[in-house]
Amino acid sequence: MPTTLRVNDTVHDLALDSRVTLLDALREGLGLTGTKKGCDQGACGACTVILDGARVLSCLTLAAACEGRHVVTIEGLANGDELHPMQAAFLHCDGFQCGYCTPGQILSAVCAVQEVQAGVPSHVTGNVRQMVDAATLTDEEIRERMSGNLCRCGAYANIVAAVRSVLAAEVRS
């Protein structure tokens, strides 16, 4: 079926089978292989993209259901050769080993920081009535908010450090 996808501010007209997921449309249809296929069943987070401003799993999203919606992938994060602050933080903190989960981790982390800035609670926020504060956010909060992204190399400690460094920079600014 004809499907129009808006990916990283570029509009693409595709002819897709109705079964094609957003993940496969990005990788196979558009050649945007930065979005990774890990488990392909909603368990690992490697396929995380930002859809209309919210982080989602592209492996459980039908491409046809994205008509008219805005997709951001890892390819759309940098500004030319200037890395997004979260990309730079992952490099600086060594937040990866093999790198396969990294695009999903980074997109998820970008949204996690926005959610913290909005003050919304997580499962480990003791009192859901309170707004969380980026300046005092615990490592436990970062780990909970990033729990949808698995890293088989176990780079979690450095991923937490990368997210924390971006949060700290946001607080300073």
Partner: protein, 329 residues
């Protein structure tokens, strides 16, 4: 995945009719259950009708009730300031489930209609009365550590996986639906999910093509003192082994009324009415909570690997009530 026809709904009644007139059609919302199960051939619709374009994504707050659109995401609901303030049990239940990515996709109606995580249901090579009526149940004598101890039958012991539903059942929510003939009805939340009995494949009391439009939570001032406690194998991103949703209405140290829902241990979102009644008039002590927990699990029936859930659920109930007792209303 089998071939499907994808249709975008343009009107709610048309969408209901589009599904009702085709036995092989299903509604598609967030996709976290349907697309997952289509990939492994557990669900094999020939047509999916995408209901997201219908909107139904607002949360309308009044003094009497909160009306939640069927397509409101689990994140949107959990993060809503009025939900967090008036119904902390619901915000906590939602935040304890899945991950932010999945909560951003999953809708309220989709969460309500999600399917069991029983591994035999999810494996088309296994026997499962819920997936294929009359084929048997491999869970009865198989690896049943995660399975239910309440509301079970000889046909099925699959656990209902939702956290959100456990909160909604204690809040006496109502489910508003649209029928294919254009009429609407309202179903008490506790009547939506069915126990498996002899017909485990009939999971909910909805007609084929009946579209959920809203979930309505009536005002309940006592719910300001409410908690959801979930016990699981991992600290995050895991289904409950046992969970409790509790509401405590206190007059000083005396319980005026209490509500108790259980998750992770039952075949449907479970309300422990007798345990609730036993607490009215008693002092809010751990002893009273333990007595209520004994009543709540009195009818439990375990299999080889899930006997531990009975004691675990009791302790979860006591801890949840104790946390509610200490909470700021």
């Amino acid at each position: 995945m089998r071939a499907i026809t994808y249709e975008r709904a343009v009107g709610a009644t048309d969408a209901a009719r589009a599904v009702a007139t085709r036995p092989g059609a299903m509604f598609l919302a967030g996709g976290t259950t349907l697309v997952d199960l289509m990939k492994i051939d557990v669900l094999t619709p020939d047509t999916v009708v995408d209901v997201r374009p219908l909107g139904l994504s607002s949360i309308d707050v009044s003094d009497e009730a909160i009306a939640i659109g069927a397509a409101v995401s689990n994140s949107q609901l959990a993060w809503h300031p009025v939900v967090r303030d008036r119904f902390p049990v619901l915000a906590e239940a939602l935040l304890s489930g899945a991950t932010t990515q999945i909560r951003n996709m999953a809708t309220v109606a989709g969460n309500l209609l999600q399917r069991t995580r029983c591994p035999y249901f999810r494996d088309v090579h296994a026997s499962c009365n819920r997936r294929q009526p009359g084929s048997g149940c491999d869970a009865l004598t198989g690896f049943n550590r995660g399975h239910a101890v309440l509301g079970v039958s000889e046909q099925c012991i699959a656990t209902h996986p939702s956290d959100m539903c456990v909160a909604l059942v204690v809040l006496d929510a109502e489910v508003r639906t649209l029928l294919p003939d254009g009429t609407t009805r309202s179903i008490p939340f506790g009547d939506v999910h069915r126990s498996p009995g002899d017909t485990p494949h009939l999971e909910v009391a909805l007609e084929h093509g009946e579209l959920i439009t809203h979930v309505v939570i009536p005002s309940l001032p006592a719910a300001r003192r409410s908690r959801y406690l979930k016990v699981r194998d991992r600290a995050s991103y895991e289904f409950a082994l046992a969970s409790a949703a509790v509401v405590l209405d206190l007059d000083g140290d005396t319980i005026r009324a209490a509500r108790l829902g259980l998750g992770g241990v039952a075949t449907r979102p479970w309300r422990a009415a007798e345990a609730e009644r036993s607490l009215a008039g008693r002092s809010a002590s751990d002893e009273a909570f333990r007595d209520a927990a004994e009543l709540a699990l009195a009818g439990a029936s375990a299999r080889e690997h899930n006997h531990f859930k009975i004691e675990l659920a009791k302790r979860t109930i006591v801890r949840a009530f104790a946390a509610a007792r200490e909470a700021t209303p």
